[in-house]
Amino acid sequence: MATPASTAGGAAPGSNRAFFSQLKKVYGLYTGGFIAFVIVLAIAEQMGMPRVFIGYTFLIATVALYAGIGIISRTSDATEYYVAGRRVPALFNGMATGADWMSAASFIGMAGTLYLLGFNGLAFVLGWTGGYCLVALFLAPYLRKFGQFTIPDFLGARYGGNIPRFVGIFAAILCSFTYVVAQIYGVGLITSRLTGVEFGIGVFMGLAGILVCSFLGGMRAVTWTQVAQYIILIVAYMIPVVWLSVKITGVPVPQAVYGKVLQKVSAREEELIKDPKEIQVRDIFRQRAAAASARLKDVDKSYADGKAALAAAVTKAEADAAPAETVAAAKAALAAYPPDAAAAKAAWTKDAALAGRSAPPTRHAEAFPGKDEAARDVSRRNFLALVFCLMVGTAALPHILMRYYTTPSVRQARESVFWSLFFIFLLYFTAPALAVLAKFDVYTTLVGSDFSKLPQWVSAWTKVDPSLLSIVDINRDGIVQLAEISIGGDIIVLATPEIAGLPYVISGLVAAGGLAAALSTADGLLLTIANALSHDFYYKMLDPHASTARRVMISKILLLVVALIAAYVASQKPADILFLVSAAFSLAAAAFFPALTLGIFWKRANKWGATLGMVAGLTITFYYMATTQPWLRGLFGVTSSIADNTWWGIQAISAGLWGVPVGFAVIIIVSLLTPAPNRDVQDLVEHVRYPNIKGDTMNTLET
């Protein structure tokens, strides 16, 4: 297959227009080829190709494609390796940024989160798109004019000296590493689903897929594979949603018509909230949870009491010469009793958690649901805080900002942010539609259906993984109640092809799309970490005389090492992986955003202000997380109650709400208390503010 990288290698500098039209042709052919490939597989499926082969074909074909692009794009030239030669046209940089940006969490998790949370989940949609306004207005054009290789590069040049650079390196690695672990975890999950191999093996197979893209060609290879990955992931996301929309509404534009479906869902919610059968199931859950909580108060005593009561029942049944069935039933109950107090505690804790399922369904469209005005206020505050942290975090994540170094000009950097958000927007404004359509299907088709006649996709997925979907007839009436369905968010995207009644090949396509999303993000992140270590730490701080070839080689070795460490951590299935991802946004926001924006917009900001501001922002954010997030509290042995440590009711995920203003305040105060930066730095600020000034002799472009 023709790849864009072959043309990328052949273009002479200064022929950007020819390069652009060539790229359009190559990726046009590529998209056509990919669709033809899916059609051929669909025909093969109709002719009887087994499902597992379809899964393998998707996995091998797409990863081989990425590998091919990666190998053709191999390079040892520094500009090519770090910033793809700075000739990625705005449109293609937009697609690459889209793939870089949209992770497994966006692709697979987003619609599910919206399904589960309703309106409040839209904080992610808003936060992960609106942040690009900040990128466009405050950062992208200026960073492009500055034109070096990494974000710590800018901090080092603007604030002078190695200390700000070092803080930048530390922060870049901190937020990128937690994020990349989550991506590799996602890759392992999808690989093992697609092929049936074990999770641990899936992680390392996925790792190979990640490395072939980035190892040989750095940013150049990553850019051109990301464009290819974007095309796959957007096609994979759209087809099932469009189909589902046709099935439910008869219109193939789900984004335009799901308002009517939402009205029907809302009407159905009101019925379900009042439905006597639903209330009956919720009451059963409430009683079970209450009984379990009561037992948990004194585990040892209730364990002994429970066991004694069952044993007494057996003795009594035998003594009374009760019918054989009664005796057998009493014995069975005794045998089913937990073997020891610890097992009993685990079982009761699980039962106590059923209290969550005793609540009526949340209304999908209701903003900030809560039992009273105070609860609604806290919910609103957290929604807005989360939106703020995700937005500022978006405008501070180094792997995204780095992408704007790769365009040919400041002008194209500005246009490129537009294309980035446009391509991201295509997926993000579809996800809420998918959530509503899926909810409609579940609420009207699944709820109320007969347990003996469950839809085929339900029985298939309950077998795959009960945490994704499980339905138990709690009140034994043979009819599915909404309260009897336990659903995991990820299933919404994964099962949509089957809900829509599409052939298996589309399920394979969706998995390939998820894989593309996870691989592309992992690539961008790994490159960021390896570059921070090799370019910023080794070259700029340890050995400024290192030759280009040596720097690129060290970067490649580090990439391998970091990837292996990340894969190892991912294969351990770390506890709270979703929290780690969200934490990356708050940490990046607090560490980078104030120092970067003030560095461009305020000439007076100086070295000590920026250094202390970054440290203070990071520290306060991390402190807040460590004292209010259960997993981190365990790690650091925090014992005071969460409520005592919470400020203004804000959850740990939005800790950046404190870190960002603190970062700004410290930079401003400390800068004003210490001497102004020298003339050179002021010149640098003016240099980055203007795309091109006649007579400006400064050249910060790194080659």
């Binding site: 903003a367 002008r411 194209q412 500005r414 958000l421 203007y690 000034i693």
Partner: protein, 88 residues
């Protein structure tokens, strides 16, 4: 480097458009978000208004903000003679 008065003016106009667009961004995000409950009472082509904006409307506003900024600044560059050499 000594900037001319015209170049200072370029930067002031950049700051002005940045502030205007940032204000629109703020309203589309946080003001709409803050008043989401009352706004949701309004029906907008089938959607509750606040839900529509959080799921679609504000996103469209973001895309337009960035598109307009790129267009405005690229024109401003030419108007003030600070544009780059032809790059494509």
């Amino acid at each position: 480097m000594q900037l001319t008065e015209r170049q200072h003016e370029y930067w002031r106009r950049n700051l002005r458009i940045t502030a205007i667009l940032l204000f629109i961004w703020f309203v589309a995000t946080f003001v709409m978000g803050f008043y989401a409950r009352p706004l949701n009472e309004v029906n907008f082509f089938g959607w509750p208004l606040a839900f529509y904006f959080a799921a679609q409307g504000s996103l469209i506003i973001y895309v337009v903000i960035i598109w307009y900024y790129a267009r405005y600044m690229n024109n401003l560059d030419r108007e003030y003679g600070v544009e780059e050499a032809e790059d494509d």
